[in-house]
């Protein structure tokens, strides 16, 4: 695997996002993100994008999550990707996908564009909307990120239709949350390790107590699982339209596994931090509150677990789960 683009993207994302964590959308930072071209990364060059692989394109999302940055970067990447699939031009400014109906839209009030999706007999209808401030009914998730509901009365006129099962796009959003969880658990691990190395009790650093070491070891195993879960889904996303089954299954598994990891990681991280981690002043809660939000957003564990369970039980009799599992493995491009 040629990692040079990936490393380059990570490096520039690190430069942009370090020390920019917060709970409010930051327009100046968004401008810098557009400058870097991140929101167009998935689109081919003839569509005005950069033709990056999903792994490369979602790398900045992971870095942003690790720094606790509040931006709809992944949302905009996916919105542009849908526009590309619908043969529509990419948009400038923050954007997000939104399902027709009363669903919460990430960063709603800060978006310039909403790419609305609606299941119709003719396929999945795509409408490009530019809501005004008063069209949003504001709400926040546990981390204080905007999760607003669109209140447009009239049904939007479709701008295009795409031949894509709705579950593929729902899975793409679930994948995005898994990527964010993965970036965040890594940052939580770092915060915990540093804190436990510095904080002393009973005459030695917390990290020298075996009970703490084992807690951190468990946290690390869960963090690694979340990372692999996200990687697996992102790698399958490259062929989400042509081979939707492996992608949807990988994304479902990624969301379930990352959510499970988020639960353990946030709980251990607060435990090893003691009271300071429970304070407003200390930055841990910025990360853990996001973990608690993201594990439920875009399909909870129960939702995607049901998808996997239904799939497993529905496999033809005489057939087994095993070949179906290995069929999801990443394959060399032919």
């Amino acid at each position: 695997m040629d990692d040079s683009t990936y490393s380059m993207v990570i490096e520039s994302a690190e430069k942009l996002f370090s020390d920019r964590g917060g709970k409010d959308f930051d327009p100046a930072l968004w401008a810098a993100v557009e400058e870097a071209g991140f929101p167009l990364a998935l689109l081919s060059e003839d569509r005005g994008g950069y033709g990056l692989s999903a792994r490369e394109a979602f790398a900045p999302v992971r870095v942003a999550a690790a720094h606790g940055v509040a931006l709809p970067l992944g949302e905009t990447l996916l919105a542009n990707w849908v526009l590309g699939a619908a043969d529509l031009d990419p948009i400038e400014g923050p954007a997000a996908l939104a399902w027709d109906g009363k669903a919460a839209v990430p960063f709603g009030r800060f978006l310039k564009t909403v790419v609305q999706l609606c299941e119709t007999d003719a396929g999945l209808a795509v409408s490009v909307l530019h809501p005004r401030a008063e069209d949003w009914q504001p709400a926040l998730n546990y981390a204080g990120e905007a999760r607003d509901t669109l209140t447009l009365a009239a049904q939007a006129k479709p701008d295009a239709h795409i031949a894509c099962a709705p579950v593929v796009l729902r899975a793409a959003m679930a994948m995005l949350r898994a990527v964010q969880i993965a970036g965040t658990t890594d940052a939580v691990a770092a915060m915990c390790i540093n804190y436990c190395n510095e904080r002393e009790q009973f005459g030695r650093p917390l990290s020298k107590h075996q009970a703490i070491q084992h807690q951190l070891a468990v946290l690390a195993t869960q963090g690694c699982a979340a990372a692999v879960a996200a990687d697996m889904a992102v790698a399958a996303f490259d062929r989400a339209l042509e081979q939707s089954d492996p992608f949807v299954l990988s994304a479902a598994a990624a969301k379930v596994r990352a959510a499970e990891a988020a639960t353990t990681v946030s709980s251990i991280s607060h435990q090893v931090h003691g009271a300071i981690g429970f304070s407003e002043e200390y930055p841990l809660h910025r990360l853990t509150c996001r973990l608690w939000s993201w594990r439920d957003e875009d399909g909870s564990e129960a939702h995607w677990a049901k998808h996997l369970a239904d799939w497993a039980v529905s496999l033809q009799s005489g057939g087994h789960l095993w070949p179906a599992l290995t069929a999801c493995d990443l394959r060399e491009a032919t």
Partner: protein, 378 residues
């Protein structure tokens, strides 16, 4: 990034074909083996089956051709092992030899040891035992009491090993023992290659909680070893045994031990509504999908010549938790009254095997210590 990374592996067309070959072979070879027997998997001993695998080139896969091996990489081997375990094939006969003794001999053995032993391992006709643990020496391997004392023409071995899996069928045992006194806690150890047909060796069965006989107590009473029984360098035993453990800890046997129960559960669920327990089932599948990719990633790193000790410990810790959760999930998902006799037999077998999953090859707490060290905490 703070946490160790697990670069994903990409499957090649040749590897997909390899899986298919295995499946065709196994469908035929295991056609008459009931699920309750397949659930034994890693303790199921069948020398003919191992020889058949050897004939097809599926043992000693990563060994060089010069030693009867097949010059394939660790990912190919991982694929074969996964297919064997997923099918519940009886792999115990060749298991230890293929997984850890062969790479150990390849790395540290003399040319003579390689030439005489490795081709037989690849043929599936030479079986090994691991001689590490003793009655008073488990996790703390440096407390080993077994001794090999130098004589004019070799060594004389005394001591008793315990929990020796298939010691009663092994042709050789790699015995970790003391060869000299040392001030260094990890110094003065060596590994010796013990021919199990030598006089002075007594193998006594130890039954497990299900009444199964796989492990043993093996005593060495003044066993005269020739000087060419030394494996690797005298005094280097500690470093060697640690690298042997890395092989022992890295394979799919660390998360697929309960796999036959998953397939049995799904077979029965086709007739039973899963109801609200679907979440448990879906979560189990998600964990399995991710573990497979993690384990494949470790194999990929082995194939590139790395020694992913930390990554292997992470997969083994997560894998053992998973294997042990499978029967617990199964009993929530499928109520007893719906179970059929074959399912019930498989369930019991896995349930009673489960406690060992977080002991063998390094107990959970020891692995977590290794992970903590990898994180720079100790």
């Amino acid at each position: 990034m703070t946490l160790p990374t697990f670069p994903l592996e990409t499957t090649t067309p040749a590897q997909i074909a390899l899986r298919e070959e295995l499946r065709t072979f196994l469908a035929d070879a295991l056609a008459d083996l009931p699920a309750r027997e397949r659930a034994r998997s890693w303790i199921g001993f069948d020398a003919d089956f191992s020889a058949a695998l050897g004939q097809r080139g599926w043992l000693g896969m990563t060994l060089p051709k010069a030693y009867g091996g097949h010059g394939r990489n660790a990912v190919d081997r991982h694929i074969v092992v996964e297919e064997l375990l997923a099918a519940g094939a009886p792999v115990a006969a060749h298991w230890i030899a293929d997984r850890q003794s062969a790479p150990l001999i390849l790395r540290h053995g003399t040319e003579e040891q390689r030439k005489t032993i490795l081709p037989r391992i690849a043929a599936g006709t030479c079986f090994f035992g691991i001689g590490m643990s003793e009655a008073n020496c488990g996790s703390d391997l440096a407390s080993v009491q077994t001794k090999a004392e130098k004589t004019a023409d070799g060594y004389v071995l005394n001591g008793t090993k315990l929990w020796t899996t298939y010691g009663h069928k092994a042709h050789y045992m790699v015995v970790f023992c003391r060869t000299s006194k040392s001030d260094d806690r990890h110094g003065g150890f060596s590994q010796v290659l013990v021919d199990m047909s030598l006089p002075g060796i007594t193998v006594s069965p130890v039954l497990d909680i299900a009444g199964e006989h796989h492990f043993n107590e093996v005593s060495f009473d003044n066993v005269a070893l020739p000087s060419n029984a030394l494996l690797g360098k005298e005094g280097d035993g500690w470093a060697q045994v640690i690298s042997e453990l890395a092989f022992e800890r890295s394979g799919p046997d660390r998360f697929l031990s309960s796999y036959v129960l998953i397939e049995e559960l799904l077979r029965c669920l086709k007739r039973v509504s899963a109801g609200s327990e679907t979440t448990d089932l879906g979560r189990m599948i998600a964990r399995l999908m991710v573990l497979r990719q993690m384990s494949l990633s470790v194999a990929g790193r082995l194939a590139r010549g790395e020694q992913p000790v930390l990554a292997a410990a992470i997969v083994k810790d997560l894998g053992a938790l998973f294997e042990q959760d499978v029967p617990e999930i199964a009993r929530r998902v499928l109520r007893d009254d719906a179970a059929d006799p074959e399912y019930a037999a498989v369930f019991q077998r896995i349930l009673l095997a489960a406690p060992s999953f977080s002991l063998r090859g390094g107990a959970r707490e020891i692995l977590r210590g290794i992970i903590a060290r990898g994180l720079g905490l100790r």
